[in-house]
């Protein structure tokens, strides 16, 4: 069996399994009993399970929702495992690291977002994130298989370098981490707006407390930022080797700097100017928008040295 073909089939399989996870997370979200709006952010080890309240003590609607949560968790992890195999096989088929074109960034990036979510979920109560993270992942994979797909093949000469491994891996990891931060900031804005208006609908009351969402958004972004910084520097080193200059205002370079500046502004505003909450969340969403534009928009809209792999 051809590895490239098997990889494609497994990407489709991961999408189907994650679609089941999406439905289960939606059911969990719809059935979960609402949280009090002033609830303290209690770290609950999601996925560990041992510290969860026993089922006997839980109200019936909690029990029903927990069952869906379990199904969602199980299928989410299964989808992640399937996608891992798909990404590895893609690398085997192309005989290089599986992140050299837009399609491969999308599948590898999705895998990293899923892993980042699972890691964050071990430390923070991000049960409410699962639905939205899965939605983003399905959207990305859907875009990957329909619009971005290119057959597995060798690299153009300029990309054949160990820096492909370092620079692109760092950029993809940072983007995955920022994606989790984006979900946290978005949910924060929804929650905070509802709190301010005194709304307490079933939807809003199931989100974590605004302050907890704000804190998760900051910590995740603070973790991703040095990785992004390193990715930009590694890119400059590679550019020096490949193109003879370390910085040439290529569209990708320029936009990676813009993303860096806006995320730096976010962190700076928080730690020095004391911006919290709403203003900070808006800045972080703007930063994420520039990241997305750098990833998709630059390759589609501009002709630059980072145009490769058909897009």
């Amino acid at each position: 069996v051809n590895a490239a073909y098997l990889s494609n089939v497994l990407v489709d399989a991961a999408m189907i399994v994650w679609a089941v996870a999406l439905a289960a997370f939606a059911a969990d979200f719809a059935l979960a009993p609402s949280r009090a709006s002033a609830a303290a952010p209690v770290p609950v080890p999601v996925g560990g399970g041992s510290d969860q309240p026993t089922l006997d003590a839980a109200p019936p609607e909690q029990r029903r929702s927990d069952r869906w949560w379990g199904i969602g968790q199980g299928t989410f992890v299964l989808g992640t495992v399937i996608l891992t195999v798909a990404v590895v096989l893609r690398g085997v088929a192309a005989q290089r690291v599986p992140w050299a074109n837009m399609y491969e960034f999308a599948i590898t990036g999705s895998l990293l977002v899923a892993v980042a979510y699972l890691v964050v979920a071990r430390r923070y109560d991000v049960r409410a994130f699962a639905l939205w993270v899965t939605g983003v992942l399905l959207l990305t994979l859907g875009l990957a298989v329909t619009v971005l797909y290119v057959p597995a093949g060798p690299l153009v000469p300029a990309l054949r370098s160990p820096w492909l491994v370092i620079h692109v891996a760092a950029a993809t990891i940072a983007a995955a981490v920022f994606t989790i931060g984006m979900v946290a900031s978005s949910l924060y804005l929804v929650r905070e707006t509802a709190d301010r208006r005194g709304a307490s609908g079933r939807f809003v009351s199931r989100l974590p407390a605004a302050a907890a969402l704000d804190r998760v958004a900051y910590r995740v972004t603070a973790f991703g930022f040095p990785i992004w910084t390193f990715a930009v520097i590694a890119g400059a080193i590679w550019a020096e080797y490949a193109w003879g200059r370390y910085w040439g205002w290529d569209p990708k370079e320029t936009w990676s700097l813009i993303t860096w500046i806006v995320y730096a502004a976010y962190l700076h505003a928080r730690t020095t100017a004391g911006w919290r909450g709403r203003k900070a969340a808006v800045v972080s969403l703007v930063a994420y928008a520039t990241l997305l534009f750098n990833f998709f928009g630059v390759n589609i809209a501009f002709v630059g040295l980072h145009s490769y792999g058909g897009l």
């Binding site: 952010p41 804190r215 900051y218 910590r219 603070a222 930022f225 040095p226 910084t229 390193f230 520097i233 400059a236 080193i237 020096e240 003879g244 200059r245 370390y246 910085w247 962190l267 928080r270 730690t271």
Partner: protein, 83 residues
């Protein structure tokens, strides 16, 4: 054949600057900055009043959720020390 030759005199300097920037960035983001005050007061006019020790803390980092626990543990340590 298309040949291109370039020389950047300042590239080592730029690299050193970038690495220093990362070196500065990491502690900025991950070192917890906080201040703790301990004030020891005795009443000079009243020898029997004993000593009052006051503790206060100010957290400059985002992770302010465990400052209270830290002050409490400091208080426990001081109580052991003064007993």
């Amino acid at each position: 054949v298309n040949l291109q030759v370039s020389r950047n005199a300042g590239k080592e300097l730029a690299l050193a600057g970038a690495l220093l920037a990362i070196g500065g960035l990491l502690p900025t983001l991950f070192v917890r900055r906080r201040r703790v005050w301990v004030r020891v007061r005795t009443d000079p006019t009243d020898a029997t009043a004993g000593t009052v020790i006051e503790l206060a803390g100010l957290d400059r980092a985002e992770s302010s959720d465990d400052l209270a626990a830290e002050i409490t543990s400091l208080r426990t340590a001081l109580q052991k020390e003064t007993r």
